[in-house]
Symmetry: C2
DNA sequence: TTTTGTGAACTAGTTCACAGCT
DNA sequence: AGCTGTGAACTAGTTCACAAAA
């Protein structure tokens, strides 16, 4: 698959290129974190080999993943840490900041709203939404305002919300997702167990606690059988 | 690969069989949830075809996944819902109840401790752990006691903890995981971003919020480039 | 020399399609 | 007839190994 001879733009835009697998994009995120650690430690360049050893990754895979997006390395040297980090942030769309709304101001929603780890990565929690009168108008400890879910569309437009996190009871999930989709939000992170459907063109990513716990339970059950 | 002609035990134990992929075990968990829905709706039998259509799954994959563990279906009929559900609960080790401890009584730890969805599936949150004097001895709203992390080993033995959930700040995560491993816990669900290492024989499953959000951000960034 | 970027080889996972059971 | 269980075919993902660049 031939590549353009000279790429001029900063981070090549991958015109109508092959689709990038989700496994790859997840790893880009991991690489970015590794590079942030290295940059903070003052490391200037790193080879795929060294990166792999230090963070328990595979060198060939790192190179392949990065090669989808351009030729960032220098033969004989490796990658410039700061430069590659900047490229990855751009590829992941983090350079402009990502605006996030959280649906559901229960325990989980409030915990997520106040979780600090996002901000530094380029995410900003701009609003919480709930249906309960007594919660609406209040703020999370961290200061995120709780809106009436009926104002969702309005707030999305005003605050330019790009991602919605679903942290409502399971029974309400599909309805809330529909509301979110209907307001034009194209990316959803779902914490509700159970199947949710979204139309084509909307990206839904689910983190299912129960599935993960049950997978661990399976591991334990198997271990007992065979040991 | 020939299979025993007649399996006598309730749920065949899969002696030294081929390893089951994690993707398969995750799906077992999904199937279990589907069957619970069907059973609650009074459905007695279901074919892989119907199950697949109703829950957006693949019929051949359902059959293959189940076939790792025995011959649960009846040709011409399909699967008996209640029976298959019981088998799956046994395979996943849920029939005896799974005892879970949560490390970190911050927003997230407390939210998880009080999340009701687990109980019905066979999980029980038996303890919270923290290092802060002022939290130790208190309880979550749902009534889970917060222990000193220094008592972890003791409580694990007394309460027969099988799974630990890591909900502490990222900087403390590896240390807490080491404590958990050291106390003999063999299954860990990690919410901390970043690499964690565990010895062989311990199963670590990570739910990385940042990776998921960044994957969504990538999707959005790509969409803008090409549309 | 060192290390990238990448075709080729390999491994894992999914789907097809059908023999065989009920 | 209807549906499972399962080899075979296919697709996706990973790792190898090496030519080419610095």
């Amino acid at each position: 698959m031939p590549r353009e001879n000279k790429v001029v733009s900063e981070t090549p835009a991958r015109g109508g290129a092959e689709p990038v697998s989700e496994l790859t994009t997840n790893r880009l995120s991991v690489y970015l974190r590794c590079l942030s650690v290295l940059e903070a430690a003052g490391v200037r360049t790193i080879s795929s080999q060294a990166l792999a050893e230090q963070f328990h990754l595979n060198a060939a895979q790192i190179r392949k993943d990065l090669a989808y997006f351009g030729e960032f390395g220098v033969r004989g040297i490796g990658y410039y840490v700061a430069e590659l980090r900047r490229h990855l942030r751009q590829i992941l769309g983090l350079d402009r900041g990502v605006r996030v709304a959280i649906m559901g101001a229960g325990n989980l929603g409030l915990a997520l709203a106040d979780y600090g780890g996002f901000r530094e990565d380029g995410f900003e929690i701009v609003a919480l939404f709930d249906t309960l009168k007594e919660k609406i108008g209040r703020r999370s400890r961290g200061g995120v305002l709780i809106h009436d879910v009926r104002d969702f569309k309005k707030v999305v437009r005003r605050e330019n919300v790009q991602v919605a996190v679903i942290a409502v009871p399971a029974a309400a999930a599909q309805l809330v997702v529909d509301t979110v989709v209907n307001a034009g939000v194209k990316a959803i992170l779902n914490f509700t167990p159970g199947a949710i459907t979204v139309p084509r063109g909307v990206k839904l990513k689910s983190m299912d606690l129960t599935v993960s716990l049950e997978s661990l339970s399976f591991f334990l059950a198997q271990g007992e059988n065979s040991e």
